[in-house]
């Protein structure tokens, strides 16, 4: 059924901290690793060891440079995966009902056995969060690791998305946005979490925490005076040695 639920009991999603993300791409790798072996069709690669490798990924990390009016430019690493939008346009365009949003937790999923591979949902997503797998010819997208977060076979500490579990900087947080006291709601409130492309009207659940303002110091360099070049012409004993060595055969 591709009409959207009017509301969902939970709103599970991610908070991505652009202040702490170091751009290591570990989440990209762990996402690919987990999702190629678990829920649904594997994430194929084309020409993986050749000259022009490409492949399906559910999470990718861009890097942007932000130049403020004054001061230095900031480099911001920008991980992007499905934002599990409340008004997900990718769901309503789907002709088969393969794309759907779950009533219980708001996760947006694709039922791959119903997907005809028309690609329309990828057209409808403004964030580029859906990729058609070139091998399986079905639409792939972030599942919010639905096969981890409820998985009782995993130790409790692992019942979070692979990308969240893996991030060495702790830049990805998972939780329920419908609960105002959850970690993600608190982080969003405290740090002014942003919605991507609000004008597209998709009401994304995921939030991005903007980079904190950098400390600014005056340009004082206390070591510089000590680094001045030492006497250009050697004098005294060193001067004599220099001259003697130059005079020897092979000296300049």
């Amino acid at each position: 059924m591709t009409t959207l639920p009017t509301s969902t009991q939970k709103k599970l999603g991610l908070v991505i901290d652009l202040d702490t993300c170091v751009g290591c791409h570990a989440c990209v790798v762990s996402c690919k690793g987990w999702n190629t072996e678990n829920y649904g069709a594997p994430l194929s690669d084309q020409d993986p060891y050749g000259a022009a490798p490409s492949g399906t990924f559910l999470n990718r990390v861009h890097s942007y440079e932000v130049q403020p009016d004054h001061g230095q430019a900031a480099l911001v690493h920008f991980p992007k995966s499905c934002l599990h939008c409340e008004d997900a346009p990718c769901v309503t365009v789907c002709p088969t009902g393969a794309s759907y949003k779950r009533v219980e937790d708001g996760i947006v999923l694709v039922n791959e056995s119903d997907c005809i591979g028309c690609g329309l949902c990828a057209w409808a997503c403004p964030y580029g969060a859906r990729e058609m797998d070139a091998e399986e010819k079905v639409m792939k997208k972030c599942t919010l690791c639905v096969d981890r977060i409820y998985n009782e076979n995993l130790p409790e500490v692992d019942r979070v998305p692979a990308c969240v579990r893996t991030c060495p900087a702790g830049a990805r947080h998972f939780g329920d946005f419908a609960d105002p006291d959850s970690n993600v709601s608190v982080l969003t409130a405290e740090r002014g979490g942003i919605e991507l492309m609000p004008e597209q009207g998709t009401k994304p659940v995921n939030r991005y925490l903007p980079p904190r303002a950098r400390d600014r110091t005056e340009d004082v360099d206390i070591l510089a005076p000590f680094l001045d070049p030492i006497a250009a012409e050697p004098q005294g004993f060193m001067g004599w040695l220099d001259k003697a060595l130059t005079a020897m055969p092979g000296g300049r």
Partner: protein, 293 residues
């Protein structure tokens, strides 16, 4: 957007086929027997041929039947439902004309309405995409309808109607291009809103997420040079409108000339449809810096 041949052929050729079905359903030309048979064969070859071409664009065409299920929300699903209903109703109507010499008017009107609805739903598939500002406007289905009915009029030998419909279509086409050229800038979506970093300063792409290409870049990253596009627009206008209009103005234009008008129009429509995709920019291109706004 990637100009996929299957989708271009589908929307152009099917559009013409359903356009002809609209005229046939309304009783123009008023034919029965063998002549009606020939007209219906032409319409069905175009409409069904186009639909078959469109399945080439599916990853899993064998599951296409599932696409009829979500007509409540999906324009693509509605298009499928309308197309199949139009083809069934018009087949019955055509059978009446061909085999019984009978014109079941109500059936014809219903078939014509369903054929129009099919073309409208095709236009809406594109017009609903907020992500492609160039398409996201009521002018998109209006233009699709105009092309279809005008082309159908040429095929149905309704030259006077075709003449004025071609003029109207040309005006719509030019308006669509003119509006489309500023649509992305007017949509308000920029790299600043896409990243939410606009508050901090000017944002520019520093490093893409991968060295190679990916599905998104292949599908949405297509770009066409401005000069190139201008030339193709002129070619499209000349082939789709100027040539057929001039031929229609010639005194005693015979079957040969009519054939040239039809072929020229079809080539013009294909060029225009190619541009419709090639010129359309998807907002996801902003993340990749394929379009700096």
């Amino acid at each position: 957007m990637h100009p996929a041949p299957s989708v271009i052929i589908f929307s152009s050729v099917s559009g013409l086929g359903f356009g002809l079905l609209v005229w046939l359903g309304l009783g123009f030309p008023d034919v029965t027997g063998m002549v009606a048979f020939v007209f219906f064969v032409v319409a069905y070859v175009l409409a069904v041929g186009g639909l078959l071409a469109s399945t080439a664009h599916l990853g899993h065409p064998e599951r296409a039947i599932k696409a009829f299920r979500q007509w409540r929300s999906s324009w693509l699903s509605r298009e499928g439902v309308c197309a199949v209903s139009a083809l069934i109703v018009m087949a019955l109507y055509g059978a009446g004309l061909v085999f019984f010499g009978a014109s079941w008017t109500i059936l014809g009107y219903l078939g014509a309405a369903l054929s129009l609805a099919t073309v409208f739903t095709t236009g809406m598939i594109y017009a609903q995409m907020k992500t492609v500002p160039r398409w996201n406007h009521f002018l998109t289905p209006a233009m699709f309808l105009a092309y279809s009915v005008a082309g159908g009029a040429i095929l149905a030998n309704r030259w006077t109607d075709a003449f004025f419909l071609l003029l109207l279509t040309a005006v719509l086409q030019i308006t669509v291009w003119w509006r489309g050229d500023t649509a992305l800038a007017a949509s308000g979506t920029t790299l600043a809103t896409a990243t939410g970093l606009g508050e901090m300063g000017g944002v520019r792409p520093f490093e893409p997420p991968h060295t190679g290409t990916n599905y998104l870049l292949n599908e949405f990253g297509y770009q066409i040079g401005r000069k190139h596009a201008q030339k193709l627009r002129i070619i499209a206008l000349v082939l789709a409108f100027v040539v057929p209009l001039v031929i229609m103005l010639l005194p005693h234009a015979g079957h040969m000339a009519a054939g040239v008008a039809v072929l020229s129009h079809i080539c013009g429509v294909l060029t225009s449809r190619w541009l419709f995709f090639a010129e359309a920019e998807h907002v996801v291109g902003l993340y990749y810096g394929t379009r700096a706004v």
